[in-house]
Symmetry: C2
Subunit: 341 residues, 2 copies
DNA sequence: GCGGGGTGTCGATGCGTATCGACAGCAATG
DNA sequence: CATTGCTGTCGATACGCATCGACACCCCGC
């Protein structure tokens, strides 16, 4: 292993000088800098992470707590991980992974062992028991999701209320008579994630504002069978022709089963009714048929979170704590939207 | 921050005794152990990761290099990450993430900065330039995937050759006359991942063995349009009725577009022809219609990799280096298989 | 009663880096 | 020429833990 001492010896300087060349925290003569940098290059020196962390009290690591719970929407998690990792690397930080099922202890472990300098917590529930713990840690915590009480922590999330409103707005604007929201299945409701309520509220508000017939249906789960049950109920009150029906499907996992169930009933989305999903663009593009969607914007949300995080770490100016940053979803019309009247 | 010194003071012992209580590397009297453990509990002591790594030369961290390259099959990556993280936690290790696009430098960084004790490298190409670098690191590297030259590294992967053979075997056994393999798109071929060749070889071998009509078609990409192009070619030589056609689709991303294209042509998978996909069970279950599939078994592959890894770290007996551990895929019949003749 | 082999604890040291205070050298100032 | 103020470098120290050697103590057996 090559140490800064080896570099110092080769460059004919002291170890501390090597350290100062690397950190730039003291001025160094051009000549010395050159010799040291050359020695670093020659030896391929890389500072030992543990020693650096011990001495500087900074691990240069970001803790990322990911939801791997069964039932969680796993397809959407990867873009978050990807974006967060890349943002971290841009600031010369690494990412350490913790799983949701470690619960609050996972957080204290990351913090108390000085494994990381900050934590990003994904998939935060309305009354997430980890929040009070997170608020008491010695490292800053950024939440992706909005709990009822952020306890002074920063929150970033998609603007689900706006998403719900946009979905119904769009259907109302394209002359639909009736909107049915195929809600979240029981296990998601049980996890009590805040975005569910927010989305529903937005949808309800918009429906009320446009004075459009509106109903909510909850499938037992996101399987094909679950979709069938929900659709039976959704289509039950369906009168004879002439009614333009719009389905709103906020659970990404329910979208494809729903589309398939409709096709099986001879109902073609985009011809006989409209379907708007809430999912990543990638999911929407590859669904069959490609579904009109409101994007979850995982990359934007992640970037916003990382931006706050590094501002905190660099002691730059930062918005007031407990600020909730909401990202605006993007509506993309695809094949499941009825053409204009 | 609570240190082992604080614990020692509270327990009335020396700091080294605290350390020995925690590591168990020297015998401790029951009474002393009790007092120390009580003090640890009272103070909520967690050893500082950096200091521990510095002193013990062990970071208790596993480096995981994930493919985030565009075009890579991202849906399948998450189960790997999940399983590897959980296996690591079971052995009291953490997982640090690196992205593929850091290339070989990412590996040397992880190793030379002593950021981790071992590395798991996913999505290894046939002539992956990272292999020679990986072989020269001071930490063990486990490959997920099989390069042409493993350079003494351990490899774990699905048995793609067997998967190819099983796919065609199944079609032959269920009385199909003709098999068309909708291959990988150009960008995957360009990445030159070894499993592509292995799968094709297995399929070809089986086709030859059963003396069944066999053809390979390469789509330009995995979009709907790409699937259309490939299908045009695949269905071109289609004679009049009576021919039982089987499609084999090894690229998970191509499966849904293919199914949809078939439905659009009025060809119902499972009624007019068979489709066998190579994808995770989860993908197969949620495709429309649910596709008969050979499972990629990401969890099994990950677990096998982690088993080797920890055997190496614990200096337990380990198979010969360069050993390739292959996991057997599992065939699950779903709705896209033609019923028996 | 005395030597010998364990057992359990302690003090000291090292891991590799960051950082603080000290200080030599030099230019500018009076 | 003496003084002040910088600039650039060095030595020493601390970070928190693991580990090594030393050693006090106790239980045997003779």
């Amino acid at each position: 292993m090559v140490t800064s001492r080896d570099v110092a010896r080769l460059a004919g300087v002291s170890q501390s000088t090597v350290s100062y060349v690397m950190s730039g925290r003291r001025s160094i003569s051009p000549e010395t800098r050159r010799r040291v940098e050359e020695a670093i290059e020659t030896l391929g020196f890389q500072p030992n992470a543990g020693a650096r962390a011990l001495a500087s009290q900074r691990s240069q690591v970001i803790g990322l707590v990911v939801p791997f719970a069964p039932g969680a929407d796993m397809t959407g998690v990867l873009p978050f991980i990807e974006t967060i990792t890349k943002c971290a690397r841009e600031e010369d930080h690494n990412v350490i992974l913790a799983t949701e099922d470690e619960g609050a202890e996972g957080l204290t472990r990351l913090s108390d062992q000085s494994l990381c300098d900050a934590i990003v917590l994904m998939e935060v529930g309305s009354k997430d028991p980890r929040i009070p713990v997170a608020a008491g840690l010695s490292v800053p915590v950024i939440l992706i999701g909005v709990p009822d009480d952020p306890a002074g922590l920063y929150c970033v999330d998609l603007d689900y209320t706006l998403a719900g409103r946009m979905a119904v707005d769009e259907l109302a604007a394209s002359a639909h008579d009736r909107v049915v929201l195929l809600g979240y299945p029981r296990d998601v409701l049980a996890r009590d994630v805040n975005f569910v309520r927010r989305f529903l509220r937005g949808a309800e508000e918009s429906a009320a504002a446009h004075d459009i017939a509106y109903a909510e249906v909850s499938p037992p789960d996101t399987s094909r069978a679950g979709a069938e049950v929900a659709l039976d109920e959704a289509l039950a009150g369906r009168g004879p022709g002439g009614c333009r029906l719009g389905l709103v499907v906020p659970d990404p996992q329910l979208i494809q089963p729903t589309l398939q169930s409709l096709l099986d009933r001879g109902l073609v989305p985009g011809r006989d009714l409209s379907v708007i999903g809430l999912c990543t663009d990638r999911t929407a593009e590859t669904s069959t048929p490609p579904v009109t969607n409101l994007s979850l914007e995982p990359r934007d949300v992640s970037r916003r979170a990382m931006r706050i995080l590094f501002r905190l770490l660099n002691r730059e100016s930062v918005p007031t704590p407990s600020t909730v940053e909401l990202v605006t979803p993007r509506l993309t019309l695809r094949q499941t939207s009825l053409p204009a009247h």
